[in-house]
């Protein structure tokens, strides 16, 4: 234990003096600013709608539903001017009237067929509503208790926690090892009684502490005390341990950051791909779901926003724990038989 405490304190001090803590602090400030200053709600409309029909019933209906002035128009000149200014939006012109509705789309680029179908269905629904002929909505069955959708400013907290933590642990652990290789301090370490486990555990403890120091303030800012702290910390800790250990296992085979760069960045990019799924949950090919950050980020989302219990995230916890155990075995072998044995 004494060895571990000594090496951990040393690693912490070196990390601080190398500016790692400062970088994490700055990143924390940026992320905290996002949480604090992003709007809680954001309305995005892809369409501008012009109602030229007599009595403008569609415009009145949409305004009643809360549509903004910048979305619904009855003045054609203003509509065209705004469409000109916002070339990525689709203009929808309604004419004819409720009995003989006619729609025309004005756009700068092609619209995917699926989007066109959705647009068509929603316009048709609006007309049916106006005629008083709309059928009931489809019933929806929820698999678990429904929580209100999270505010926009905290919607990306799981991404910040999982991907940033992973990136920091992975990158900085490798940088520290390269620093030790450059200074040849590992030769001195190798003739001390402190062995492989002390080395691995010290680095892991360091990045676990840094991860929590980074993650906790963001969680407290975003949720106050109203979130499942133990489960969230468990997921952050597992992600941090996995990627730090993996980073150590890989960095052993490179001498410096330049040599490591392509392999390291490739792994980081691969690990970041689940961010696409987080933004677009329907995109979840099987291979993507096996990347550890995928279950981690969705489990974190479920814990923070959907009141997931330990039982709900248990498969993810077991999966991450198993991968972490494998990473520890790989790191142990690489450090014991290569890093602490190499060199004349």
């Amino acid at each position: 234990m004494k060895r571990f405490v000594s090496l951990f304190t040393q690693d912490l001090l070196i990390s601080y003096r190398s500016g790692h803590v400062l970088i994490i602090g700055l990143l924390l400030v940026v992320m905290a600013a996002l949480v604090l200053f992003l709007p809680r709600e954001i309305k995005v409309h892809n369409e501008l709608i012009l109602d030229t029909s007599p009595g403008v019933p569609l415009a009145a209906y949409l305004r009643e539903l809360g549509a903004d002035e910048g979305v619904v128009y009855t003045d054609q000149a203003a509509f065209l001017a705004d469409l000109e200014r916002q070339p990525n939006k689709v203009g929808v012109v309604f004419s004819g009237g409720l009995d003989a509705p006619a729609f025309e789309l004005v756009t700068n680029s092609a619209i995917p067929a699926a989007n066109l179908g959705l647009l068509e269905a929603s316009l048709e629904r609006a007309i049916l509503e106006l005629r008083g002929a709309a059928s009931d909505q489809f019933p929806v069955e929820y698999l678990r208790p429904v929580s209100p959708p999270p505010d926009f400013n905290i919607r990306f907290v799981p991404v910040i926690l999982i991907f940033e933590v992973v990136l920091l642990g992975f990158l900085i652990a490798a940088v520290m090892m390269f620093q030790e290789k450059q200074e040849a301090t590992l030769r001195a370490y190798r003739v001390s009684p402190a062995g492989t486990w002390t080395y691995i555990l010290s680095k892991n403890a360091l990045f676990l502490v840094l991860s929590l120091l980074y993650g906790l303030p963001i969680l407290l800012l975003a949720f106050g005390l109203d979130f499942n702290l133990p489960l969230t910390l468990l997921l952050i800790a597992l992600s941090s341990l996995l990627m730090t250990t993996l980073s150590l296992a890989i960095a052993v085979f490179f001498n410096n950051l330049s040599e490591w760069f392509f392999a390291g960045v490739a792994i980081l990019v691969l690990n970041s791909l689940p961010m696409i799924s987080f933004g677009l949950p329907a995109f979840a090919p099987a291979w993507l779901t096996w990347i550890p950050s995928y279950p981690a980020v969705f489990a974190t989302r479920d814990v923070l926003f959907n009141a997931a219990t330990f039982g709900d995230i248990l498969p993810t916890v077991l999966y991450l724990a198993a991968l972490t155990a494998l990473a520890f075995a790989a790191a142990y072998a690489a450090i014991r038989f290569k890093l602490l044995k190499e060199g004349r």
Binding site: R3, T9, Q10, I14, R17, T185, R187, A188, V191
Partner: protein
């Protein structure tokens, strides 16, 4: 204390041995000098003995225990001073010693006292990246002593040091010897070896070419001669007498009996001369 038997090492496993059939023994409390030029295999042997390189062929035992069974207990009594200073540049001298001491299970020496012993008290709280090479060398030496080792490996411990500081380090080495520490000194500096070592081995191209006490080596390989300065007709004259030659011996005794004798210096061979004689190469 340390016994090395028929040690071989081949870095590439192609039959190009960097170390060939090296055997020696160091009794407890003695200083053993391992001498040879750069590339002779000195560091390879030291690295094997300290566990930095695997033992391929031969046997090494510490207090009767094979190096193949190295454990924490072995490293707890081991001190190693490296030729090239390897320190954490972002830590101060004091921190380098304090954290290194924390890795040992045995009682360790006070880092402040060690820093004082090697003349680094004033620089104790400066980062070692700002140290000169000599200061770094001294700190590495101090670090090797932090666990009060029973077996000390010193690789060129006075390299790059000014004469005064080198004298301090030599004094510390002798003090460790008095304390019962066994010392393996790797160097190409024959004067240091001559001054400190109880026994020396000459290593050339991976093989030991001679091994004995410095005195015996000099007697074995040198000639018994003295250089004498004496006054003659108001001038100072100088002459070398080879004592094994009857004529020189007689002349020397005659000179000793008159008043003109001023200085006498023995002319034994230096270790360096012996090394050159044995290997046909210098030590640089």
């Amino acid at each position: 204390m340390l016994q090395v038997t028929h040690l071989f090492h081949d870095y590439e496993s192609k039959g190009n041995y960097a170390v060939q059939d090296v055997s020696f023994e160091i009794p407890r409390g003695q200083i053993f000098g391992f001498l040879g030029p750069s590339g002779a295999g000195k560091s390879t042997v030291q690295n094997i003995l300290t566990g930095l390189l695997p033992l391929q062929q031969g046997e090494v035992t510490y207090a009767g225990k094979s190096i193949r069974d190295l454990d924490a207990a072995f490293f707890n009594q081991l001190g190693v001073s490296f030729e090239h200073p390897n320190l954490y540049g972002r830590l101060t001298g004091y921190e380098n010693l304090k954290f290194f001491a924390g890795l040992f299970d045995v009682p360790t020496l006070d880092p402040r006292k060690l820093l004082e012993a090697v003349g680094l008290t004033e620089a104790a709280h400066r980062k070692t990246s700002a140290y000169s090479k000599g200061m770094r060398q001294r700190l590495v030496f101090a670090r090797a002593l932090v666990n009060d080792p029973k077996m000390l490996f010193l690789d060129e411990p006075t390299s790059g040091l000014d004469p005064n500081t080198a004298a301090v380090i030599k004094e510390l080495i002798l003090q460790k010897k008095k304390d019962g520490c066994t010392i393996f000194l790797t160097t190409h500096n024959m004067l240091i070896a001559d001054e400190l070592c109880d026994q020396v081995a000459f290593l050339n191209e991976g093989k030991i070419v001679a091994m004995d006490t410095p005195r015996n080596l000099k007697l074995q390989h040198g000639q018994r001669s003295v250089r004498v300065e004496y006054g003659a007709q108001g001038q100072v004259e100088s002459r070398v007498f080879f004592l094994d030659k009857a004529e020189d011996h007689r002349a020397f005794l005659e000179l000793m009996q008159n008043d003109s004798l001023q200085t006498i210096h023995s002319q034994e061979a230096s270790l360096e001369q012996i090394f050159v004689k044995l290997t046909g190469r210098g030590l640089a």
